[in-house]
């Protein structure tokens, strides 16, 4: 269970408050107007922004003061998820050891992860030799070998076309189901939420609301979401 208790996150000039819990194994979409603080919320959970009040915990373990790399979290950013000078296999291997010194078993683990996302035998290529969709798959293979409990997505597929984005979201949902990971994904498209999210966290008016069932929320939106979705 991911818990944000009475949290206040300050990012430059504005603040977001959050008091909510996400159950383990759930895939939750974080939606809301742009500038409302969706990324701020995600960055605080990942440890890139400090909370000025309250605390964050995972399954009872306090994460509030832990540095980003020590949290049980894997994260994909909007862009720059791969190092262009490292090979595909090295980019994945970073998820196991940042030193890139891998045992044979770990090397096999990298190969299996690449095969799982459909990139078998691509390990020696550089990211520049791959398509945008394939690059996203490499990043997901790394998430796979990281084996963290929580996966945070800050719109990593925003630059892909609609069909490719849907394919990636399905892959995320599949991988999360297999590993039992809890997913929090920022999105500005309610269709993304409908596609793979069980629950929706609405961020609006400086507040992250507790998660609601996706269909229920989107079919019966509260006023803030109604305005965002452009429904009268």
């Amino acid at each position: 269970m991911l818990k944000l208790e009475n949290c206040r996150i300050i990012n430059g000039g504005f603040a977001v408050e959050a008091d909510l819990a996400v159950a383990p194994g759930v895939c939750a979409a974080v939606i809301g107007p742009s500038g409302a603080g969706k990324s701020t919320l995600i960055e605080a959970i990942a440890g890139f922004l400090p909370v000025s009040r309250g605390g964050i915990s995972w399954n009872g373990a306090d994460l509030t003061a832990a540095p980003p790399g020590k949290r049980p979290i894997a994260m994909l950013f909007q862009d720059g998820n791969l190092f262009p000078h490292l090979t595909v296999a090295q980019n994945v291997a970073l998820g196991i050891h940042a030193s890139l010194r891998l045992a044979d078993a770990e090397r096999r683990q990298v190969e299996e992860a690449l095969a799982r996302v459909g990139l078998a035998d691509m390990g020696n290529r550089k990211p520049a030799a791959l398509s945008g969709g394939q690059q996203s798959r490499v990043a997901l293979a790394r998430v796979l070998v990281q084996g963290r409990d929580l996966l945070l997505l800050d719109e990593p597929f925003a630059a892909l076309g609609p069909a490719l984005k849907a394919e990636m979201l399905d892959l995320v949902a599949e991988l999360a189901r297999e590993s039992g990971a809890t997913v929090l994904m920022v999105s500005h498209d309610p269709n993304d939420a409908r596609r793979i999210a069980d629950q929706v966290v609405l961020v609006a008016d400086g507040r992250a609301h507790a998660p609601q069932q996706t269909t229920q929320m989107l079919d019966n939106p509260p006023p803030a979401l109604r305005a965002y979705l452009g429904m009268a």
Binding site: A46, G47, F48, P67, P68, G69, K70, I73, A74, M75, F77, G80, N81, F83, P84, H85, L86, Q90, L94, G95, A98, S99, L100, K126, A128, Q146
Partner: protein
Amino acid sequence: MAGRAQPISAFPGIGAALVVAALILGTLAAVAARAEAGTGFGVSDWAALRFTLTQASLSALLSVGLAIPVARALARRRFPGRRLLIALLGAPFILPVIVAILGLLAVFGRAGWLSSLLGLFGLEPVQIYGLHGVVLAHVFFNLPLATRLILQGWQEIPAERFRLAAQLNAGPLAMWQLLEAPMLRRAAPGALAVVFAICLSSFAVALTLGGGPRATTIELAIYQAFRFDFDLGRAALLSGLQLGLTGAAALVALRVSAGEGFGAGLDRAVQRWDGHSRFSRGLDMFWIFLSAAFLLLPLAAIVLAGLPGLAALKGTVWQAAGNSILVSGFSTVILLALALPMAAAVAAGRDGMTELAGILGLAASPLVIGTGLFILIHPIADPFALALPVTALVNAVMALPFAMRILVPRAREVLGRYGRLSLSLDMQGWAFVRHVYLPRMRAQTGFAAGLAAALSMGDLGVVALFADPDFATLPLQIYRLMGAYRMEAAAGAALLLLVLSMGAFWILDRGGRWHAEA
């Protein structure tokens, strides 16, 4: 964002900055402790101060004054070889001073091309030694720099402004008032200050073309007090004066100059609709031709004069060349060991002191550091035996400000782009340095290393202070050959030095970009 966690520690960089600051300030303190308060300034010291200021002012005014029409011509003309000429404008920066001086002597000296040409008309040969020789050499080195700085100003005028001016049918005068004069009011003071600051600490040029009571810079006076009179007190007093002067000038130069001379995108020609008259076209071609000839003739003279001497080079020259390669190699390694951590520290947000240490290098004069190191080393070891490491160290510190200008922007980019990803992968410290920082910095590291290697290879400064008669670097050996009037051997050695400097720059710069992914 300040205080944000970074995958790289600022402490090694702060440590490196402390080493640099300790070196510069420690040697200054050593010098100050030896400066005798009672002696005060003598007549010759005031003459040195006056000459230093006069030559630096004249050099700055002439360099910038000539750079304005050249930059204007380059900004508005397109012709074959334009890119090459602009690239060539960067070359004097890494051209060894002694090589350029031999080239200038071959063209403008008593027995040079110009004097021979004048002789055909029964005119007296020109005189290159003294104030005008020093200024000529400084203009040779700084006209290209000033041209690049001002060309940058021209290219920062948005293309839309030129379109608008053309639409309004602005003539040359209106164009000048509307666009060019305001730009020059911004760009020219910076260029003036930079050239002035550079010329203040002129040593090698004054050593070879100046000298005597009427053409001695403060740097040269420090050298003479030290080398000929072994008057450490007076050397120290002059060092203090020099440091105050260069420090003040460097501060002014940094304050008024925003651009940085290596600027990218200088080869882009803005489309212009004015200046199509035959007169202005002829004028521009005149300036381009003149500046190209002024830059290229001395270089051509070195190659022509050096080729016959190259075959007859003695063992001492090859030995000196070996020393120069060693000094240059050590110096480059020291520079990178200082600059890479410092750039990381600045990029990680701990900029204040680290950047200050880089700037101190701009204000410091090699002769002052050299004097201080001599005073410090003298009681515990034989300073002359340490000529090689001392020269390498001082050269590295002198190259540091330039290296920082190259490395810091890229380091900021690397941390900005990959900092969060690396943190989320728990990749920090050495793993980040090895797998991200160094690989992503490779092209800039190569460029900075190339500059440092070339500068150190051609340096004739602190080595003149520390070398005993049995030890020489190649530039010092060339100076000694010139002093013995063995001009052919000097020209051959100068050609060798030119090849070594340019070769070192080319190899390191290329090496950095070899197989580098964007």
